[in-house]
Symmetry: C2
Subunit: 281 residues, 2 copies
């Protein structure tokens, strides 16, 4: 398939690449400037050069990249240039998720969708469900892209609203079910924190065909076993398993890119072993 | 007070300016490029010049401005320049709300807060509550700024989650109550759509000291009477009554800035009349 035409849908591209390279690992580009190795700091756009080296060292073993918008936004004009450059330097066959968690009412969401998909050229984006369907519809209209809606997150504040029980079930389950209903174009996914392993099995049963984006593996300590058991959709779209700091800041020295490659391979292999173990049981 | 030192807190600055100029009107800079008058279109940064003329024509009658981030983000580098220029050209005594609806987990939210308050220099910002308290805490730590949390919005999708009944009360009321609890520094507000007038009285009773940001007046057709009756906090902080398209696109001709001024004054006076009527009853 890889030498044929690129499939139209984001999740098909993701599935095929995952099969081709045997990786579920998403390298999270949470590029905090203070953590970039000192020898890159004097550069005009240290974030861009940092990302270039990380991508060159990992693009054959990473399923995809997740660009965390906040870290670029916080650096002003230099961050803007680095963001655009990072999008440009990632090879075209590697999907890029823009982690922006955007949403607003109709007229405005349309502009956010245009920014994410046309101005930046992201293959997929993360969005926030609070404002409801019409806030997400401008994103959903891009049928060849992926839209990961926040479901259950791995932070302590998840208990404030996401876990609130509404009509007998927690809010995040309402979100998951609604997103499954809105998935008429097959371009919706769900963000589910890996530290919420107890909820994985239940969520997968509830929405068997919504692909998951799973942050929180690595630095936040999520369980790979649960992700492997319940992560893939019933039709086999793999979860995107994101690790950010655990990969890109694996070393603070001149070997940081090589260390990122090693960390990516280690996580890839840890997942492969968990898959093998699960298949044997 | 106006010639003394600027008060530290955003909501005090807002209250004093509102009293000094007798206006609750927030001019919403939803600067959709396609709607900018044709004679400005050939400029290098049409959004910046459009905003400059709007601000020059309205800054003595506008309580504050609300900059809608999405419309600038969608224009790439030119939008970025226009955004920075717009922040720079608004007089220092006029508060600026950055309508960004951001939120993410701790580490990332810190960067968004830094972008909004330090990089762009906003006086206040809109944020999304879905992820809970720790996602908002990095914003709340800026005690001299204002943080308007999404409560009940005026779009149809509000029914999807905001109006979902959890433990006997709708989700947006849980949000309002939590935000009131998190308001230990006196810098929190709530976004409440004007088209949800039925909920105004109840919300004000529930959170007597949370200032409201009220979009949806004008183009979306909200009720000024309800906003006047239940908008101010019990201690007298006025609601910010936002109108965007109704003001900035009041005319598509060369007189657009003058038309924006007239529309701002008309809305200001409509509110003044409603206040007078309410006081007489």
């Amino acid at each position: 398939m890889s030498d044929k035409a690129k499939p139209e849908k984001f999740f098909d591209r993701l599935r095929i690449r995952s099969r081709d390279i045997g990786s579920w690992v998403c390298v999270g580009l949470d590029v905090e400037v203070a953590k970039i190795p000192g020898f890159l700091q004097p550069l005009k756009h240290p974030q861009a050069e940092f990302c270039r080296r990380i991508v060159e060292a990992t693009s054959d073993v990473a399923l995809c990249y997740k660009i965390n918008m906040a870290f670029f936004e916080a650096e002003g004009l230099s961050g803007y240039h680095s963001l655009m450059e990072t999008f440009a330097l990632i090879p075209k066959d590697v999907p890029v998720i823009l982690d922006a968690k955007r949403a607003d009412i109709g007229n405005t969401s349309k502009q956010y969708a245009r920014a994410c998909f046309e101005e930046f050229g992201a293959d997929a984006v993360t969005v926030n469900p609070y404002l409801g369907h019409d806030a997400l519809e401008p994103f959903l209209e891009y049928r060849d892209r992926g839209i990961y809606v926040l479901g259950l997150t791995s932070n302590p504040g998840a208990k404030d609203f996401e876990l609130l029980v509404c009509d007998g079930t927690p809010l995040y389950e309402h979100v998951a079910r609604q997103v499954a209903r809105w998935n008429t174009r097959g371009n919706c996914g769900l963000v589910v924190g890996a530290t919420q392993a107890d909820s994985f099995a239940r969520l997968r049963q509830l929405v068997p065909e919504l692909p998951f984006l799973v942050p929180g593996v690595g630095a936040q300590g999520g369980s790979i076993e649960e992700v492997v058991r319940h992560g893939p959709t019933h039709s086999g779209i793999p979860p995107v398993v994101n690790s950010s700091r655990g990969i890109i800041f694996a070393s603070s020295g001149e070997d940081f890119a090589q260390a990122a490659r090693t960390a990516t391979i280690n996580l890839r292999d840890e997942i492969r072993r968990a898959i093998k173990t699960a298949e044997q049981n």
